[in-house]
Symmetry: C2
Subunit: 360 residues, 2 copies
């Protein structure tokens, strides 16, 4: 992108952000569930204001933090509506546990207890339900979180895509964690805990809608071990964590850049990407930066701690491809830029609309 | 029912309860979501064993109780899938808050924080969503619980009946509460906080499938004020609380009778029932004892505290029709009996199958 092109893009984004903040869409569309701009508008312009905009909600972190007695408790909720229910590397039951465990981990909370609420479609095979409950139980055991309560509802045929699972988790905030979506400061470094876009591509391919034979597995896993390793290694230098799920790395970084009023510059050639995933994205015409991960984290860390932090991420199972992929700059505030191997830069905006098949 | 008929019914129930405890249904049906026997079998024979049957889950209380630091915290979850979304006296947003607040209240926990997870159907009108979010916010304010986190997913057309809401709540256990589903002892009294079956009948009539013009409003409300009044009035004499939602009063009392190994005998003519509700049930051919309430509680209290407890229930807004409706006897263990005004008794078994239109 030329310097003039970048300037035009920045001005366009700036204009969009200054638009009146009413929610004007008359109907809900799949874009509102895609994790990008439309989702943010729904949350920021309709849900938070109508709910009264409490302090916790307005912070829009992955999890709320509450005082309970003398203890800081994190709490988060997530509904899982993935199709197909099972895909290479995982399934909805496993995803529903790991997804909520990870939202707790992103605020620095050790997983404590989880609830599991099922909406089942009439006609669902019992065996499919049994498999997902077993998958959830195994994921909970592996993540060290106890499933303490549940609920089951049954809805009519064709009214739930087989099953939906809502999980809600609570965790104990690690006292060493001082994380905030607004924590990034110029000079900080950006790390990622492993290759990106694997979950989203695995689910898209599992649908069989594309004639691609690539073997791609979801990356779903608990991220608490990685967070615990970071807190052990460099608690003071750890600014912000995000797991780039819906909307992918691009949307997660935009949230961090906007919250902190900094620019985040990603070095494209440093971003770990499996060849099969990169190839599938190219054939499907989608940018892997917008594709969901379900077991990766992005960490903003102080420059002087970047080496220790990277070593910590790599010390954890599944973290051997962790990498430093960028840095925080003062300007342009609130913007994410991708720098190519050839030195050119382009703006990496938040996901607009819903260009991808719904995958979570 | 003759004495011989009662004996035959008891033997049938006993045989059914001694059946092998494997879950044999190959597919999920609406009966598994109706709150009666099929729901219990799904939970006890499939979900709890496959989840590993942790202590909390196996207790099958309305909410789990966890130690967090030095504080006892209750946690519960519930998915709401009601159609239509709005009905006389309430709507899904209000119901989703009150339902979870009430599950906390039933273990003696004061509401603290709530999460709200939405599954929205593509094409839903924004105005309908706004109304339900406003209803949830108002109900939360009224119940004194803060909505701290949320999530939104969008699914395809016809894949969510407009919207589903999953709420999860945490609350602080009142140190005076010593409640247990197994708490009933022979001689104890049974109280109900108001007229029964109103929510279920209101929703059934709101569907317009029946040619009945009766004006019936849902009873949805927070039950924490009633529980707080009971804890103030007679903490030591309060054995068990249940809010009779899915499966109605009959299913809730069966759970208490089975857990405590006692008989619960209900005096039919003492059960408060609005004439319009009783009339609608008669025309629809359903027993109001099986119809859901969403703002009533059943309390088992020590005989010597029954008067104080009833006065406490009546002192609370909406509680002026609270009544003592029965007593606990030693035999037949695990059975609920209804005694008619004429002195005959019949077994009131748990709901079998799904004879009612799905209403929650």
């Amino acid at each position: 992108m030329s310097a003039g092109g970048e300037q035009a893009a920045l001005e366009r984004i700036d204009r969009a952000r200054r638009r009146p903040r009413a929610f004007r869409d008359t109907h809900i569309t799949t874009a509102h569930g895609a994790g990008g701009k439309a989702t943010h508008e729904l949350i920021e312009r309709l849900l938070v204001p109508v709910l009264g905009g409490g302090e916790q909600l307005a912070a829009l972190a992955d999890a709320a933090v509450l005082g309970v007695g003398g203890t800081s408790v994190a709490m988060t909720t997530d509904s899982f509506v993935v199709r197909p229910l099972r895909f290479p590397g995982g399934s909805i039951g496993e995803l529903a546990v790991n997804g909520t465990v990870n939202d707790l981990a992103m605020v620095g909370a050790a997983p404590l207890a989880l609830t599991l609420s099922l909406v089942l479609e009439e006609g669902l095979e019992t065996e499919a339900l049994r498999q997902e409950i077993a998958a959830a139980a195994a994921a909970a055991k592996s993540a060290g979180i106890e499933i303490v309560a549940g609920d089951t509802k049954v809805v009519g045929r064709d009214a739930a895509d087989g099953m939906y699972i809502c999980t809600t988790g609570i965790g104990i905030l690690d006292p060493r964690a001082a994380l905030s979506p607004a924590g990034a400061r110029p000079g900080d470094r950006l790390l990622v805990s492993g290759p990106i876009a694997e979950h989203g591509v695995a689910v898209m391919l599992a649908r069989g809608e594309f004639e691609l034979g690539a073997a791609v597995c979801s990356d779903t896993r608990s991220l608490w071990p990685a967070v615990a390793a970071l807190l052990d290694a460099c608690p003071g230098g750890l600014r912000s964590l995000r797991d780039p799920t819906r909307g992918g790395v691009a949307s997660a970084l935009n949230e961090l850049a906007q919250a902190s009023g900094t620019a985040i510059v990603v070095q494209e050639e440093l971003v770990p990407l499996a060849p099969a995933v990169g190839g599938a994205c190219e054939l499907l015409g989608i940018d892997p930066m917008y594709v969901a991960c379900e077991g990766r984290l992005l960490a903003i860390v102080a420059a002087e701690e970047a080496g220790v932090a990277l070593a910590a991420l790599r010390s954890v199972e599944g973290g051997d491809e962790a990498a430093e992929i960028g840095a925080v700059e003062p300007d342009p505030a609130g913007i994410v830029l991708v720098q190519t191997a050839f030195g050119s830069r382009r703006v990496l905006d938040m996901l607009v609309g819903d260009p991808l098949p719904r995958i979570c």
